[in-house]
Amino acid sequence: MSNLIFDSVTKIFGEGSSKYVALENINFEAESGQLILVVGPSGSGKTTFLTIAGGLQTPTNGDVKINDSTINSLSKKQQTKLRLEKIGFVLQSYNLVPFLTVEEQFKFVDKLKSQNLTEQKMHELLSDLGLLELLKKYPNQLSGGQKQRVAIARALYTDPDYILADEPTAALDTDRSMKVIELLRDLAHKRNKIIIVVTHDLRLKDMADKVYQIIDGKMTILEK
């Protein structure tokens, strides 16, 4: 069982008169096997929340713990290593290296890190995601939905404990958005991952196990 905990996390940008509180006293907890949605209007602090969860930024106050160890006190190098080994990022765009074929995106991960999905599990994942026919294509030969599916596969390839996704459906129409979210939910349930998806698309909230809302840097859990 892995978990991700925010313990009274505050993030303040700037100082003095230009001081801006982006996140205020956030308490948050996620466990394996859950798809968690974080919703909120533009500028409310969603991306800030996600990047702190992924160790890309450090909180001004409070602690972020992964499997009960604090990550915000790690060095930059250790945080990079942690991201490589434990976290998979899926972003709105630029997820894929433009000059690598789909197959090579995974080979590249092999060069960085030795223990990744076995060939058999990988094959299973690729066929689940409908990517087997796309292995020889470059990102610019893929549709938006295909790219997003490859990005998800790439994030899962290192067998991370978490997937952090920032607006992974922003480039997709409603149908495809639903499909991607469904896929992420299945992955959370079947493969026992923590999957946190940031979105401002409220239509997706029925699919999640838990939904948090951020407004003006304050986080509340939404009862379903």
Binding site: T80, R83, F108, D166
Partner: protein, 348 residues
């Protein structure tokens, strides 16, 4: 260096353009250094063959052999292990009409310089108006046994041997005996050359000792010529540095979002930096190798009047120079890579 190689193979046009630029500048550099070396050799090759360390000239000669005249007293008061040199530039003709501007250099056949002279063919004999001449005469059609008719004089010098690398101020040298030159310059000694450096107390008043290095630098036109070349060569190094910096900078800026995401995905900055350095290195090595090959071909195909010398040390210095410049050129892009904050990319 998986990423670096895949990128170059996928973006062949971009990277070939940079390689082409590196090649063009390296080629120009190799040709220029070749010419600089070639011209320098034309000026000083004969002096290098002497293998001496100092030369004593008249104080008023400004280091110029032609302007230096030593009196018999001055020569007599110098140590007697030096080689006395008399020099006379003139036009010489063969009996069948070949012409050549030449430097006649008279020295004693027992002198250390004469003993050192190498012979490519014929014999080393300068007695009785015989001469050992630069092998430039040979390539221009002169043969052993031919007579050189000295212009405005009745002197006839018989070629007995050819000696390699014997040019002085861009003219081929004819080594003759002091007796032979007597009729041309009344037996004046222009300078005395020493194998070792003399103690200052041994230099008579009115004369001046120069190291062979500074004597060469004072050869007419030599310093100005070398300075011009060095200036152009230095400039080309700066140009290549700027060109590589700009290209790599633009390429890097274009892919910053991707680099930011790669960092978010856990790719270390070190990996990305090494990747860029590796690309820069590979491109410069390819560019330099093509330049060396084409430079050699150019040197071979150019007519022999063009004094181009592409030797190993030139190639090594130029090659390493270009590679260092291209690695330096990667510094600005590397700063970009180190600075890119994945959060900024993700945050939009």
């Amino acid at each position: 260096m998986f990423l670096a190689i895949k990128e170059m193979l996928h973006e062949k046009l971009r990277y070939s353009l940079i390689v082409a630029l590196i090649f063009l500048v390296s080629y120009l550099l190799i040709i220029l250094t070749g010419l600089a070396t070639g011209l320098a050799n034309l000026n000083k090759a004969a002096i290098n063959e002497w293998d001496a360390s100092s030369i004593v000239l008249n104080s008023d000669s400004e280091g110029r052999l032609q302007q230096s005249f030593l009196s018999q007293d001055e020569v007599a008061s110098l140590p007697n292990n030096g080689t006395r040199i008399s020099q006379y530039s003139t036009l010489v003709k063969s009996e069948n009409g070949l012409k050549e501007n030449a430097q006649l250099v008279a020295l004693d056949s027992k002198s250390f310089i004469f003993k050192k002279l190498k012979i490519t063919s014929g014999s080393k004999n300068i007695r009785n108006n015989a001469g050992v001449v630069s092998d430039k005469f040979k390539s221009d059609g002169f043969k052993i046994g031919d007579y050189l008719l000295v212009a405005n004089s009745s002197l006839r010098i018989k070629i007995t041997g050819f000696t390699p690398r014997a040019t002085l101020s861009a003219l081929p040298v004819v080594y003759i005996s002091p007796d032979t030159i007597q009729s041309l310059n009344k037996g004046v000694t222009n300078a005395v050359v020493f194998k070792n450096t003399l103690n200052n107390s041994k230099i008579p008043k009115g004369t001046n000792q120069l190291s062979i290095g500074s004597f060469i630098n004072k050869l007419p036109g030599y310093s100005a010529q070398q300075l011009t070349f060095n200036f152009m060569i230095g400039f080309l190094y700066i140009i290549i540095l700027i060109v590589i910096s700009i290209f790599l900078y633009i390429l890097t800026v274009q892919k910053l979002p991707n680099l930011g995401v790669l960092k978010a995905q856990g790719v270390s900055t070190q990996y990305l930096v090494l990747s860029t350095l590796f690309q820069s290195f590979i491109m410069s090595v390819i560019g330099v190798i093509i330049a060396i090959i084409l430079g050699e071909i150019t040197a071979i195909t150019l007519p022999s009047e063009v004094p181009i010398v592409i030797d190993k040390s030139n190639i090594i210095v130029t090659g390493i120079g270009i590679i260092i410049m291209s690695l330096l050129g990667a510094l600005i892009p590397i700063r970009q890579i180190a600075k890119v904050d994945p959060y900024k990319i993700i945050g939009g």
